[in-house]
Amino acid sequence: MTEPSAAGQPRRDGGLGGELNRRLRGGVDPRGLAVVAAVIAAALLYPYYFEFLQDVPLIGDFIPGVGSMVVMLVFTMMAVGLNIVVGYAGLLDLGYVAFYAAGAYMAAWFASQQFEQWRFHLGSVGISKELSGLHLSIWIVILLAGLFTMAVGILIGLPTLRLRGDYLAIVTLGFGEIIPQFVRNGDNVFGFDLTHGTFGISPIDSPGFGKTLSDATNELLPLSYQQSFDRARWFFWTALVLVLVTVFCSVRLRDSRLGRAWIAIREDETAAAAMGIPLMRTKTWAYALGAFFGGVAGAFYASFKAGAFPADFYFNISVFLLCMVILGGLGSVWGVILGGMVLGYLNVEGLATIGTKLQQDAGIDFDPTKYQFGIYGLIIVLVMLFRPTGLIPERRHKRELEEGVQDDTLYGTSQ
């Protein structure tokens, strides 16, 4: 595992170590900060200039509208959340869709007419107070969904995170199937209609700022997104804020005591435990935090689509999200954002656009959306062959992937 190097001088590493240690001090690189600020500003203003971009010849047809951007951002948010589990802590989770589903159904339960037998309103916007069912403000629901999913994550994590590597992947795969199955068949849980089965639950209430804030700002802030003329824009800005919060938390965690512990576990579990890191607790936190962001994304997306349907929660989504993480670069937050946006775009409208273009301009009758998972698979194969560390590699991880990481059990025996 080690190469005893005879030379007294260690190889220099292009300043990587120095950079990693600078992160510890919370040091910020001013140039990096400027780039981040510019990207955020460009993103915030997107609704105001995307139409001009769409008029540009050649590329214009490939510029996504604001509505598509919302979906891309939701996927990106989940990819960044999954990256905490897979990228930081090195736990291969193939069942992330379960958290997405749990979040969506939290919104469906607490912001729709599903439970007609009750009537409870708390900060609901844009609907009659006489409407039956539970109607909490979407902002509260989103937070509740995150916390609920986190609890689900801990519940699933405690028994499964004792497993390593492949075994963990298989069990999480199982849970990723169990929850959607449960949702599909949950219309008769001991006689109680919990999920409305394959029909799903809709409509789900919309987010909004409510009457008081809306009136006070002269309707600059919409009372309810769904009823606003700027519906797509407001969902877009909200999604963007959620992504930014996710990224912020994710970066801060990476550079914290907990983040160090995750990386240590990824590198060598036995040594990490011997350094006083409680393996179960630390891994469960990674899992639970990943779940939190999945739940928030699920609840927000359900509110955007105004419904939660079991057909949205197939295993494919878990793999799709994992593809985003791998394409972008395991453990690299910026890479994962890029991976999420690229694959999200192809999924939402990119492939369809390409299909139309092929048909119109080249006369080729080929519809790439029919082969979408084949195409994503091909992308991953190509990435693995030509750029195994992803589009924007995490610098630390880059070396691991290029040289392999050692993680066998102590002396090859486990008990």
């Binding site: 595992m1 080690t2 005893p4 240690n21 914290s256 907990l258 350094m275």
Partner: protein
Amino acid sequence: MNAGDDILSATDVRKEFGGLLAVDDVDFSVPRGGIVSLIGPNGAGKTTFFNMLTGVYKPTAGRIEFADTDVTGKPPHAITELGIGRTFQNIRLFQHMTALENVLVGMHARLSGGIIRSILRTPGIRREERGAAERARELLRYSGLRGRDDELARNLPYGDQRRLEVARALATEPKLLLLDEPTAGMNPQETAAFTDFVAKLRAERELSILLIEHDMKVVMGVSDRVTVLDYGQKIAEGTPAEVQSNERVIEAYLGAGAASA
């Protein structure tokens, strides 16, 4: 020696792997502030014994007490938290972390940063992290790794990797330090320097040290007491001089008949 003076005591500790008896009812103790060596031929059960002390393995039977607390079968992180630090026979550093980060991981149990406070990066957390980094740098210097803070662990020369393992173990703030063949693979100069370092550790840091070692020069040089294991059994115990002249020990190392020859 009465029990109150021992920082670590193991009573009738036994480990079976299926049909293999790796450690056979061994009694063992480390006096407070002492340096004890555990020696024996390859496969004698030394490392298995070590792994029971640190919680990697659960003993099949017997009891282990550390600082008057029963630690039998406790998980490794809990034992580290109580104050047993260790190194590994085959170096197990976090290869893709810097020397400084490795030491900081060692401080895990001594720091408090939780999720919410880490995300908000409160002044308290900033202070804690700054203090930790400062102590980590100091430990690196103390362990002879001056100027290596920013080096990735895997890029350090072999001797420095061994030193970094010790620095990382010291970061857990141990009362008892377990070193598993720390000089394996070192050249004579490095070994001599390391032996001095071990003596210095005890003198300056009020540590008790338990050493697994094959190099007899090291063992005889630093140990107060030596315990010899063979086929999982304790065959001798005493001062280095006593053990050196013990017939069973010579037999175990050189084969039957060697003692009388």
